[in-house]
Symmetry: C2
Subunit: 388 residues, 2 copies
C-alpha cells in the first residue's frame, strides 16, 4: 500500500528527459527474486559471511542478469564511505612518456578493484581546484600526483587536509609519500654510454633547476663523469624546460659556448628532439660531430633523424608501485613511504645517435678504433593505432 505509493511517486519524478542509468535497482532484483534486497546485496557482493542457499543464490543471480542490474556507484560510495576510485593528476601538457605511467597505474588499479580517473592538472584551471573536485568532494579515495606543475604550496594543502596521496617521481620535503624512478641511475647509464664511446667533453641538457627530478638526473650525469675521471666543465649543464623548445634552446647554447661538447646527454626525450633540431640548424652532424642520448623512450625515438639512443625507464612500474603504495595507505597496511623503482632496471636502447668520438683527445686512442657503426636498425613492426 504505502510502498506502491512511494514507488509510483518515485517513478513519476524520475522521468527526467533522459534517464542516466538503466535504472534497475537492488529492490527490483529483490522483488523479482522474491527476497529482501539485503540478501541480494550480500549475494551479489559475495559478502564474507555469505552463507546462502544455493537456490536463492542462483535465483538472485539469474534475476540480476536478466534485469541487467548494475550497482549504482554513487549509492554504494555513500553507503560504504569509499568510492573505489583513484585519481591521477597529470601535467596539462601531456608529454610523450606519461602514458606509460598511466597505463601501469591503471592496470594495478584495476587489479585492486579501483577505477582510475585521470584528470588534467589544469582541469579546473588550477591544480588546487582539481584537488577540490576530486578529493574534497569525495570523488576519489586517493590521489596520484604525476604533475610537476603542482606547486609545493598546493601540495602542502593536499598533505594537510588529505593524507591519501602519493607523488610520482618527485620528492617534496620528505613529507609526502612518493615513488620515483632511479633517475640518477638512468642518467648515469646514458652518460656512461657516451663516455664509453670516447667522449670526454659531455654536456648535460637538464630540466628546470628547481625540480628535484631534474636534480637527480643531473646527479647521475655528474656521477658518471666523476667515475670516469672526467670534469664537468663550466656551463656544461644547462637548465631548460623538459620540452622540444627547451631542448632546442639549451642545445643551441651548448653548441655556441666556449668549449663545445662532443656529446650531449639530455634529461628528457622531448628536449632531445628539440636538441637534434638545434644541431641540425647549426649544421652540426649527429652523431658524427655530436653524440646525443635521451632519457625515457617512446616509439618516436625510432623515427627521428638520427634514431635516438635512449634509456628506457620502468615507467609502468612507477605507476603501478604508486598505486600499490596508495592502496596500502588506504587500507592501513604499513610499508615504505618512499620507494625507488628498481625492478625493471633502466635499459639502454642503442640506436644511431651515439658514435665513437672521431678523433681521440690528446692522443689517447681508444682501443676499439671502430668508428661509429650505425646499425641500420629497422623501426619496429607496425602495430595498429587508431585515429582519434
Amino acid at each position: 500500500m504505502h510502498n506502491s505509493l512511494v514507488q509510483d511517486r518515485a517513478d513519476l519524478s524520475r522521468r527526467k528527459p533522459s534517464s542516466l542509468r538503466p535504472g534497475v535497482t537492488l529492490a527490483d532484483v529483490a522483488r523479482a527474486a522474491g527476497v529482501d534486497q539485503s540478501t541480494v546485496s550480500r549475494v551479489l557482493r559475495n559478502d564474507h559471511g555469505a552463507r546462502t542457499t544455493e537456490a536463492t543464490r542462483s535465483r538472485i543471480h539469474d534475476e540480476a542478469s536478466r534485469l541487467g542490474y548494475v550497482a549504482n556507484a554513487a549509492a554504494r560510495s555513500l553507503a560504504m564511505r569509499r568510492t573505489s576510485t583513484l585519481g591521477i593528476l597529470i601535467p596539462s601538457s601531456l608529454n610523450l612518456v606519461i602514458v606509460d605511467v598511466i597505463r601501469g597505474a591503471q592496470d594495478a588499479a584495476r587489479e585492486l578493484g579501483y577505477v582510475l580517473m585521470v584528470a588534467d592538472a589544469s582541469e579546473l584551471g588550477r591544480a588546487s581546484d582539481a584537488v577540490r573536485s576530486l578529493v574534497l568532494e569525495g570523488r576519489v579515495d586517493g590521489l596520484l600526483i604525476a604533475s610537476g606543475t603542482i606547486t609545493d604550496e598546493v601540495t602542502d594543502d593536499l598533505l594537510d587536509g588529505f593524507g591519501n596521496c602519493v607523488i610520482l617521481n618527485r620528492r617534496i620535503g620528505g613529507r609526502a609519500p612518493s615513488v620515483i624512478e632511479d633517475d640518477d641511475l638512468g642518467m648515469f647509464i646514458a652518460t656512461r654510454e657516451l663516455i664509453e664511446h670516447g667522449h670526454e667533453t659531455i654536456a648535460c641538457l637538464a630540466g628546470p633547476i628547481d625540480i628535484d627530478t631534474s636534480r637527480r638526473r643531473v646527479a647521475g650525469y655528474r656521477r658518471a663523469m666523476k667515475a670516469a675521471g672526467l670534469k664537468v666543465g663550466k656551463g656544461s649543464v644547462v637548465h631548460r624546460p623538459f620540452d622540444e623548445a627547451g631542448g632546442f634552446s639549451g642545445t643551441t647554447e651548448l653548441l655556441s659556448g666556449p668549449n663545445r661538447p662532443s656529446a650531449i646527454a639530455s634529461a628528457s626525450l622531448a628536449a632531445a628532439i628539440g636538441g637534434l633540431a638545434a644541431a641540425r640548424g647549426m649544421n652540426v652532424g649527429v652523431p658524427d660531430e655530436l653524440s646525443f642520448t635521451a632519457f625515457h623512450d617512446a616509439p618516436i625515438a625510432n623515427y627521428l633523424s638520427p634514431p635516438l639512443t635512449t634509456v628506457a625507464m620502468p615507467l609502468g612500474q612507477l605507476g603501478r608501485q604508486a598505486v600499490l603504495m596508495l592502496h596500502r595507505r588506504l587500507t592501513g597496511v604499513s610499508g615504505p613511504t618512499h620507494v625507488t623503482v628498481q625492478d625493471p632496471a633502466p635499459r639502454l636502447i642503442r640506436r644511431e645517435s651515439v658514435a665513437r668520438l672521431a678523433k681521440p683527445r690528446l692522443g689517447e686512442p681508444k682501443s676499439a678504433a671502430v668508428l661509429g657503426h650505425p646499425k641500420l636498425l629497422r623501426p619496429t613492426t607496425p602495430e595498429a593505432t587508431p585515429a582519434i
Copy 2:
C-alpha cells in the same frame, strides 16, 4: 558470540586509518549556523526561489567557509540523480593530437558545470568494460567517445542502453550523435598545397581503410586531385594504421612502387613522422626529392627533419562542440545531432617539407640538380613544459 566474532573481523578489515574527506557535512554547517540543513542546502546552492534573509544567508556562508564545507559528490549525485560528470573515452595509445581535444572538452565542461573524467579506452581491458564502469554504474551523465578502437559492436551496445553519448570524429551508421572535423577540407588544403608546388604524382598516406574518418580524408585528397585535373594513380593511396610504424611502412611501399610520387599527403601526423624516416632510409631527400604534408599539427612538427608542413585542425573546438552537444542532449534541448566543426577553419602551416617540383615530370627519374628553397624557419620560442 558468533556475531561479535564476525563483527570483529569486519571491523578489522574495515580499519581505514585515514578518512577521505574532511567530513564536515551539511548538518554540521546547519548546526553551527543554527538553521536547518535544508536551508543551508538552498543557500549554498543559490536555489532559484532562494528568498533568504540576508542575515541567515551570510551566517551560513560564514560558517560554511569557516568549517571548510564541501559538498559530497556521491550524496549529491544520489539525491539529484545526476553526477555532473562527463566521461571521455580516449584511445589507449594516446596520440599526439588527442590532448587538444581533451583540453577543448574540458574547458567547455567546466563552463557548464561538469567535471570531465578521462578514461583510457583500455581501462578495463575492453571498451565495453569502461562503458560499464562509467555509464552503467552511473559515474557519468554522458560520454564522449574519442576512440577509434571502439568497435561498432560496443558502440551499438552503448547506443541501445544509453543514449547520452556523442562520438568524436567518427560517424557510425548515422545512429549516434557525432561531431567531426572537416577532414575532407583539411586534406583538400594539404593536397592543394602540394599541387600548387607543381606536383602531379601525389600519393596519399591514408589511415585504416575501415574507419570513416580515414575515408573522409582520402576523399579530400581525391577532391583536390580532381579539381586540379590530376589523376590518382593505381596504388597511390595506401592504408595503414595512424602511427609512425604505419607511416614508415606505407611510405616505403609508395616509394618502392612503379610510379613513385613526388609528394605524399599524409592523413596523420604520426604517420608522417614515420614516413619521413622511411624516405630518409631510402635516401630520398625531403623536400628535394619528395614533398610531404601532414594532417594535424603539434609542436613536434617544428622539430622534425625537415620541419613538417601541416594542416592544423580545430581540435579544441571539436572537443568543445562535442560537450555542448552532449549537454544539450542531457538537458533535453534540441539541436543538430551531427555537426562538422567549421569555425576555426583548417589552417595550413607551411614549414619546410614541401618544395616546388624540381622539374616537370616526364615520367623520368629526377636528377637531384635543382632544389627547392627550404626556408630556414626557426622553431618557435621555447615555452615551459614541466616534467612528469
